[in-house]
């Protein structure tokens, strides 16, 4: 059995920025099976639809998963209000995550906003062989900077308003780093991913992107999370929950 559903204890919770929460959940069976770039589907009590949230940390020994998410609408607000020690109804681990290829050049890990959390396990894996470029709106929206720095990767922070780090988009430092890159791994809003893919593809550097779509089942059965993809020149609908969320940038029809 590949998937697990159950009620799991919320061990730790912290607010790490405005409306952004950092949860540690005890779920040994999911943690055991989880890999980088996968997600879990969490049911806010009383709702019909689960909320997909990326895995931000996997501790197989402790049997825990870490998730970092924004309380955006009603459902995620309800999740954020879960008291420490209470149960969360989770299905996971789900999706096709990042292919952790070994490359000769640097691995560039880049993304922005609330797309940043799933990138942390990648930085842990590649450590000093990685350059991490993260984009945020402004200084007060910067999250997980210390966690990324602790991985040994070089970390570059960009802000839209210049209130912290590089003033501008992640593609600015990416343009400079891409020459020595062996691969690019990314997650963030669609326009950002599109720009990152364009920079990577122009230099023929393989690029993986983690996409978002509204979901139902999260396992590939209900077909609601369709996205247009191109494989072997053939256009079709892929499903973000099962074929993705991580896709080769060349497959995505932007």
């Amino acid at each position: 059995m590949k998937y697990t559903q159950g009620k799991y204890i919320l061990l730790e919770k912290k607010a790490i920025a405005k409306q952004i929460y950092d949860f540690t959940i005890l779920c040994p069976d999911i943690a055991q099976a989880a890999s980088e770039g996968q997600f879990v589907n969490i049911l806010p009590e009383g709702h019909t639809l689960r909320r997909p949230i990326s895995i931000c940390g996997i501790d197989r020994e402790a049997g825990t998963l870490r998730i970092v998410f924004m309380a955006k609408g009603e459902g995620t607000q309800k999740l954020a209000d879960t008291p420490k020690g209470a149960n969360l109804d989770i299905v996971g681990p789900l999706g096709h995550g990042f292919a952790m290829n070994e490359v000769s050049g640097k691995t560039i890990i880049t993304g922005g906003g609330i797309g940043v959390p799933p990138l942390l396990p990648l930085a842990k894996h590649y450590g000093s062989r990685a350059v991490v470029i993260l984009g945020f709106r402004s200084a007060d929206a910067v999250i997980l900077k210390k966690d990324f720095e602790a991985t040994g990767a070089e970390v570059i922070i960009c802000t839209d308003d210049g209130s912290y780090g590089v003033h501008g988009m992640v593609t600015k430092p990416l343009e400079e780093e891409i020459a020595e890159a062996g691969q690019v791994l990314s997650c963030g809003p669609m326009p950002m991913l599109k720009a990152i893919s364009a920079v990577s593809e122009a230099k023929n550097v393989p690029c993986q992107v983690s996409l978002e779509e509204r979901m139902g089942c999260g396992v590939g059965a209900c077909l609601v999370c369709a996205c247009r993809v191109k494989k072997n020149g053939e256009e079709r609908f892929g499903h973000v929950c099962k074929d993705g969320p991580v896709f080769d940038s060349k497959e995505v029809m932007w």
Binding site: H47, G75, G216, A221, C222, L223, C225, F237
Partner: protein, 303 residues
Amino acid sequence: MADLSVKVAGVEFKNPVIPASGVFGYGREYEEFYSLSRLGGISTKGTTGQMRTGNLAPRIAETPMGMLNSVGLQNPGIDRFISHELPNLMQKDTVIIANIAGSTPEECAEVAAKLDSTDVHMIELNISCPNVKQGGAAFGVTCEGASSVTRIVRNATKKPLIVKLSPNVTDIASIAKAVEAEGADSVSLINTLLGMRIDINTGRPVLRNNCGGMSGPAVFPIAVRMVWQVANAVSIPVIGMGGISSGRDAIEMMMAGASAVQVGAAIITDPFAPVKIIEEMNQFLDEKGIKSVREIIGSVKPW
């Protein structure tokens, strides 16, 4: 342990709980959670004559106690269903119901005819899918339309034929009678109710298709009412669905007149919903000292 077995149109079900068409794919994903042999049956994703890619995303929206979907009958087409999905499903020791649809009665008949030479146990003809612009809704919302498509599909297959009704009609009982008269062996209801949601920040509908089909717990009382009306109007067995999410709901639906039930949105909320519903039904019957679930079919005592 109560006897949960039921018989619908001559087909034996080990229990009356069937994942509804469209939420369960072809079962492969849910086999990663539990053995499909625990289910009474499976209604597969709607299959059409040719492959269909479906509508653009977003295809789903949440509603209070429910959801809207606008998948749009995405499926690989009948030939691929028969060659790639059906052989696997037929080994799962559960009743396999092939849900079919088409833009024209002829397309529905062609699909049914192809299934006639397979081992599939039953065919469920969707005359009600409100998602596809030229699809079901056009012939499923009038008695004449429902009759004509049932007639031509009936002539194309000897398999037990379930006709799945649309709730987006004025008088569902008269449609049920019309399809019964054309030889349907059973009717199933309800399909989704047409709905819409708008994002007030952008002024755009949440669904890319603007409108979609509503299902989930919010529609349950409507479904119970329609199943009751239809069960009183026809003498063929009724399969009830719409908003069932617990064993108690399933019992209620059967009291209204359903011989079996299907479960849709509840599986999206909880992948284990069907197996939990089976356990809860059994528990309820044991508590009440009812020996067979068949005793409760249509047992409501209306005022």
